[in-house]
């Protein structure tokens, strides 16, 4: 029987890699819990408030996006819109070409991965260097991030040391501190020689036009200090009403992601730098990208747009811990990815329609989500969607027969009594192919069908 892709990936995964991801994820989950328990009496009510804030924001996106545009423009930023990933790529390269920019530095942005921005810029003859340590390593390895916050959780220091040696950053040295220092020194030159800096944004505040970036390394600060042009790529769903909502969201984001009260640098960008300043971009562009988000807004899974990209759901997910990020074959892995990635695929939904099935529906993801996204419900909706679209699903027993059986009590009772379906349904129709995966690693209890019913019946007769 064909395997589910996530299951076969997990089965073939290197044990040490899986163990490292598991341990790192479990540590992240502990840190999150510890920081919330230490600082709040009722963290759950705060999560629900944050969820209500985000739900309100996306359900009033028409108002807030327009307001954000007006505020940003008033602050001196140029606002652009991109419908598709290609539009966004072209919008970026158009701005850069117009400014004669050849070298850019990038800070971490999941949305830029979504649109394969670096590949596109390379075709335009523009050098784009990832400056976040993890993302830089991903870039030089031609790899993909396996976590939305901790991109190289699947790599060890020896892998990184070899990559650095290959890139000419020095002889082989796998000491984490040395690796980090080398990246620091190398990147300095890149920042200072860059024409433009590209960032994402964690939030866009509609009434003040502020972009909020939540970081730790200082690379995004450098991207916004050294080059003369700033381009921010933002999903349309990132907009929130005002600074007061930030109180709740910022207090939850760091704690949920890494157990930090606040990340080292919380950056509030309110426009380009003043012209007379020695550093900071004189030109600022914000590109709002749709790329299927308005479709998702129209769907019955719109709650997924609340996501603030903390990664807590990945850390706690038992399937993520077993399979690791690359098993999800998309930019967003884990529980968030299992909903978002098939939806972002648009008309290619069927290519990722197996992801919502890679879940035991345990609900741990919803429990840790700082914006209370009902992920299991969304996974179920997507399973229904896949079924309606008649998409094949390896290992999933067809349920039409079950539907008939379980709504026909007389047949059901006979089936119970006579030891199962074998007396009624030909063996080849029996879901035996579905039993063998069970029986490979587990025994089944003995059949007791009908026993309780007859006990209950004779009891009632007394």
């Amino acid at each position: 029987m064909p395997e589910q892709k996530v299951d076969s990936y997990a089965r073939r995964l290197d044990r040490p890699v899986q163990q490292a991801v598991h341990d790192n994820s479990a540590a992240g989950t502990e840190k999150r819990y510890g920081s919330l328990a230490k600082d709040f009496t009722d963290a759950d009510s705060l999560r629900r408030l944050a969820g209500a804030i985000r739900q309100h924001s996306i359900e009033n996106l028409d108002t807030y996006l327009e307001q954000a545009e007006a505020s940003l423009t008033r602050n001196g930023a140029h606002v652009h819109y991109a419908v598709t990933a290609d539009d966004a790529c072209r919008a970026v390269s158009d701005i850069l070409k117009k400014a004669g920019a050849k070298k850019i530095v990038k800070s971490k942005s999941m949305i830029s991965e979504e649109i394969h921005l670096n590949d596109h810029l390379a075709t335009q003859g523009i050098e784009s260097v990832e400056t976040d340590l993890g993302e830089y390593i991903i870039q030089i390895d031609g790899d993909h991030p396996s976590h939305i916050v901790k991109p190289i959780i699947h790599k060890n220091r020896r892998d990184i040391a070899r990559s650095f040696e290959r890139e000419g950053l020095g002889d082989y040295n796998d000491d984490p501190q040395t690796i980090t220092r080398r990246a620091r020194d190398f990147m300095r030159g890149k920042y200072l020689g860059a024409d433009a800096g590209i960032t994402g944004a964690n939030f866009v505040v509609a009434d003040t036009g502020r972009l909020v970036l939540v970081t730790n390394e200082g690379n995004s600060r450098f991207c916004l200090a050294a080059p003369r042009i700033h381009i921010a790529l933002v999903g349309i769903e990132k907009v929130i009403p005002s600074d007061s909502e930030l109180t709740v969201l910022l207090n939850l984001l760091g704690r949920s992601a890494t157990g930090q009260q606040l990340t080292v640098y919380t950056e509030f960008i309110n426009g380009p730098a003043r012209k007379d300043r020695p550093s900071g971009p004189e030109e600022m562009h914000v590109i709002f990208m749709d790329n299927q988000r308005s479709e998702i807004l129209a769907s019955n899974c719109r709650e997924i747009l609340r996501c603030i990209r903390c990664g807590a759901c990945l850390n706690v997910c038992p399937i993520y811990r077993q399979a690791t990020g690359h098993a999800y074959r998309s930019v967003y892995p884990g529980p968030i990815g299992a909903v978002l990635s098939p939806l972002l695929a648009g008309k290619n939904f069927k290519q990722l329609a197996d992801l919502p099935k890679a879940s035991s529906l345990c609900g741990a993801c919803n429990e840790v989500c700082p914006v209370d996204i009902p992920i299991p419900d969304l996974l179920l909706r997507l399973r229904n969607k896949a079924h309606e679209e008649h998409l094949p699903s390896p290992g999933t027993p067809p349920m039409a027969g079950f539907g008939i059986l379980a709504s026909s009590p007389s047949i059901w009772k006979i089936a119970m009594k006579t030891g199962g379906l074998s007396s009624l349904v030909p063996l080849e129709k029996l879901p035996l192919p579905y039993l063998s995966p069970w029986l490979k690693t587990r025994t089944l209890p003995g059949w007791r069908g009908g026993q309780f019913r007859s006990w209950m019946k004779s009891r009632n007769k007394k």
Binding site: D7, L361, W447
Partner: protein
Amino acid sequence: MTPTISKPNGRKIQLMATCLCDAFFDNVAKATVEVLEHAGCEIEFPENQTCCGQPAFNCGDWTASRQVMRHTANVFKGDKPVIVPSGSCAAMLFHGAPLEFEKESDLGTINDLAGRTWEIADYLVNGLGIQKWPGRFQARIAFHRACHTRGTPSGAAAMQLLESIEGIEVIPFGEAEQCCGFGGTFSVSFPHVSSSMGCLKLEHITAVNPDFVVSGDMSCMMHLGGLAERGGKPIKTLHFVQILQAALQNHA
């Protein structure tokens, strides 16, 4: 989740035995009956009951699932509380069913059923107000709180009853909040991940060497018990109602 306080909590109840107990765990269903009768309940067992439809629901075939749920709603019609010895089936009734019926014209019928469905521990402790369970049962137990009871009072209610029994010691174990890996058809469509999750949980549980592994869901117990047996290190699994029943048997 449906708040406990507004659910009818009378003692004339309907029992939903669950398809799993129907097929494999008659002893759990029998213990459920004895426990409820001890609590003063008058039990109606609608004979035409089959299943809550969750297997089809989880597979995305909501048409088949609704077909089953319509039958179930009809079988359990009335206004009595419906008691279920399974957090998973109870959650299907008060959360899953309203979800799959959200666009259906008979959503009202489903909501009615949802509004009077209780998982059994929740019913005993929060419905009937039983704080302490009589009798005694000498055992060190590991309690596995099934995932479908997340966000409900059921886990705490079961713990309260178990810890109140003389002789019972509930032993904590590592990563207790992590799923056992059953997940319904997930266990056969993702067999490697499902078994790996189960083995990881068994490692944590066996490290504390309990006499019994206890849960409010036989699905989890079937999965962990089956894994342990195939792995050559069998464990003893029980539904917590079986402990309540055993404690009563040891009651003077």
